[in-house]
């Protein structure tokens, strides 16, 4: 059997399905539902077996069209930076507020993608987010929590 990344993904999916199936069997159902033809764990159990079946087949059967990815050509650094910025965005949005975090997220993303036109970067982050926020909060009346804008008295 030729080991390639697709097979490794299939193996991981096989393990994931086994764990899913184990968790499905652990679902606590009501006593009166235990012997019912269908209860809360029936469908997940079917799914667990289906996952084992299809990933098992993918593992065993030959893979005629092996996909080869040239990892050297992939841009891991920039991708990782974008993911980290997005995580920081998620971590700060509730504490700092929508306006500042979203603006810094956009500004940071432009920067890490190689943009250096500062004025354009600024215009497409802070004023852009302010306008978008006005559309959501002011026009569509969708409440956006923003401690920072509240602190400086812009938002009530």
């Amino acid at each position: 059997m030729n080991i390639n990344t697709t097979k490794i993904i299939s193996l991981l999916f096989f393990i994931f399905s086994a764990l899913y199936l184990y968790t499905a069997y652990q679902i606590q159902v009501f006593a009166f539902d235990e012997n019912a033809p269908f209860n809360a764990k029936t469908f997940p159990i079917y799914l667990g077996y289906a996952g084992l079946f299809f990933s098992g087949l993918k593992l065993i059967l030959p893979d005629p069209e092996t996909i080869k990815v040239e990892h050297r050509n992939l841009e891991y650094k920039k991708t990782a930076m974008l993911i980290i910025i997005a995580i920081i965005y998620g971590a700060t949005i509730l504490k700092v507020g929508y306006f500042l975090t979203t603006s810094f997220f956009l500004f940071g993303s432009y920067y890490f993608l190689g943009e250096r036109r500062w004025l354009l970067m600024f215009l497409l982050s802070f004023p852009f987010v302010a306008a978008f926020m006005y559309l959501l909060h002011g026009v569509l009346e969708i409440y956006l929590r923003d401690p920072f804008l509240k602190l400086i008295g812009v938002m009530g």
């Binding site: 059967l61 841009e75 354009l120």
Partner: protein, 500 residues
């Protein structure tokens, strides 16, 4: 009926109501473009405004918002691979690749014409079939719904070409597994939440779509050093925004639109099915019906592949009004909100609505058609300008896609857990996409998962655990026979091709 139609026309064609349709279509289009804010939110936002009008005008405004939002969702689907509305996910399968080839204007024009045609056809079906179809929709029982879900899954064949069947099936199972997270619909027992309160309500559909499509697409572009604006740079802005559809493409649309409108309308009529399932089903059916050459183009910018879901989702929107108006059963989440508004107006929907309140019943149906015309008139001239989004440099476009995806999720729940979950799913999806694991089957299964389990549960409980329900009813058997026919037809065609 003629009298009712005339009453409807005279109500719908008043200056005030035409203005309302225009306002509704315009705002609906804008809101539909923003991920996370689908027609349901748009209509909910309109309810307080509509209470100032008479019921017919209020409902006409809401119907305009509904159509506008569905069309707006197609725009972000085609240009950014970020479906603003679940019903437009299937539009991105061929719309986005077509836009990437520098034909953004054409893709948007095909979507606009298909939506218009789908809406027009379904308005005609609605006009003549609404009262009788309500009885048909009631005859659908759980086993039939379950069989229909299985039929819906045959659309997976569209994404399992070139020996990708097992990968597609693995993605189906993963989609169903994601759909099983959260409270069980009947017993309220929590499943796979690991005591995390944020997962109790399950994972939102928009979150999964945004993670696997928009965000993962943005990450893949950066990872592979692709440039989504490369094709747009090769052509002039005029060419990029050109809305010309050539004779060959028109011919393809002439065949696709009537059949997709029928599928869309019929699925829309069934309570609980909705535009998302209709668009997937139409996409899968269309792929089964076209010739082999055209089949190869699916997923790479096929005209049929774009026209079919766009026609079906608009047809389903009209179809979903049938159970709402004639039975008081909402066919989708959006029509459920509209039903609430209708009851708020003091109008009792039911089989006699078109007799007791003909001005409401027929004016909504008439205004749907007027809404379609206005939507087309409003949107076609704007397409060349909207298409220019693709001329925005990659360094700005990617962060903006990420911004719209994350904001779309954030405004739905105001919870940062959803942002983390989306990032996690997007990272996994990006990795899977590198190795050609298709994402559409995952989305299709995620949509069908809850409905499938619910209907299987009811069927098995009613038949005391016996699987005989699959062949007990003629309707179930017919749907299953269609499914089996499609599967065997695919196998036969593949074998025939291999022998050649």
């Amino acid at each position: 009926m003629i009298e009712g139609i005339l009453i409807g026309l005279s109500t719908a064609l008043t200056l005030q109501n035409i203005f309302m349709v225009m306002i509704g279509c315009f705002f609906g289009t804008i809101i539909g473009m923003l991920p996370g804010l689908g027609p349901m939110t748009a209509i909910a936002l309109m309810i307080p405004i509509t209470y100032g009008f008479d019921p017919a005008t209020g409902l006409i405004l809401m119907a305009g918002v509904y159509y506008g939002a569905v069309f707006g969702g197609s725009t972000s689907s085609i240009l950014l691979n970020a479906p603003g509305v679940p019903g437009t996910v299937a539009t991105s399968f061929d719309g986005y690749p077509m836009a990437q080839q520098g034909k953004a204007g054409k893709a948007l024009a095909i979507a606009a014409w298909s939506s218009f045609a789908g809406g027009t056809f379904s308005a005609i079906y609605l006009l003549f079939l609404a009262p009788s179809l309500s009885k048909v929709s009631l005859s659908f029982r759980s086993p039939d719904y379950f069989a229909l879900m299985i039929l819906g899954l045959t659309a997976i064949a569209a994404f399992s070409s070139k020996g990708q069947f097992l990968k597609a099936m693995m993605m189906v199972v993963l989609g169903l597994m994601l759909a099983s997270v959260g409270q069980d619909s009947l017993s309220d027992i929590t499943r796979f939440t690991f005591d995390n309160m944020n997962l109790t309500d399950g994972i939102s559909f928009v979150l999964v779509v945004m993670a696997t499509f928009a965000m993962s697409e943005a990450l893949t572009i950066i990872l592979k050093r692709n440039d989504p604006t490369a094709a747009a740079k090769q052509v002039s802005l005029t060419e990029l925004g050109s809305i010309k559809i050539n004779k060959d493409d028109r011919k393809k649309m002439y065949k696709t639109i009537p059949r997709s409108s029928v599928i869309g309308f019929l699925i829309g009529v069934l309570p609980g099915a909705g535009a998302t399932i209709a668009s997937f089903l139409a996409y899968g059916m269309e792929r089964n019906l076209v010739n082999d050459d055209e089949k190869q183009k699916f997923g790479k910018g096929s005209v049929n592949g774009l026209s079919a879901p766009e026609t079906a989702n608009n047809a389903a929107c009209s179809g979903s009004f049938v159970p709402m108006l004639t039975l008081g059963i909402p066919g989708s989440g959006t029509t459920a909100v509209m039903l609430g508004a209708l009851l708020g107006f003091g109008v009792q929907p039911g089989p006699r609505l078109y007799m007791t309140n003909p001005e409401i019943f027929w004016s909504i149906i008439m205004s749907m058609y007027i809404g379609m015309v206005i939507l087309l008139i409003l949107n076609l001239p704007l397409i060349p300008y909207i298409a220019r989004i693709l001329a925005v440099p990659k360094n700005y476009l990617i962060p903006l896609i990420l911004f719209f995806s994350i904001t779309g999720i954030y405004v739905m729940s105001f919870n940062n857990f959803d942002i983390y979950l989306m990032i996690g799913i997007a990272v996994v999806a990006t990795f899977l996409r590198l190795y050609d694991f298709p994402m559409p089957p995952l989305i299709l299964a995620f949509v069908l998962g809850g409905l499938m389990e619910e209907n299987l549960r009811r069927s098995l409980l009613l038949s005391n655990g016996s699987w005989e329900f699959l062949w007990d009813r003629t309707l179930t058997l017919c749907i299953l026979a269609t499914t089996i026919f499609i599967v065997f037809w695919q196998i036969y065609k593949t074998l025939k091709k291999n022998v050649k």
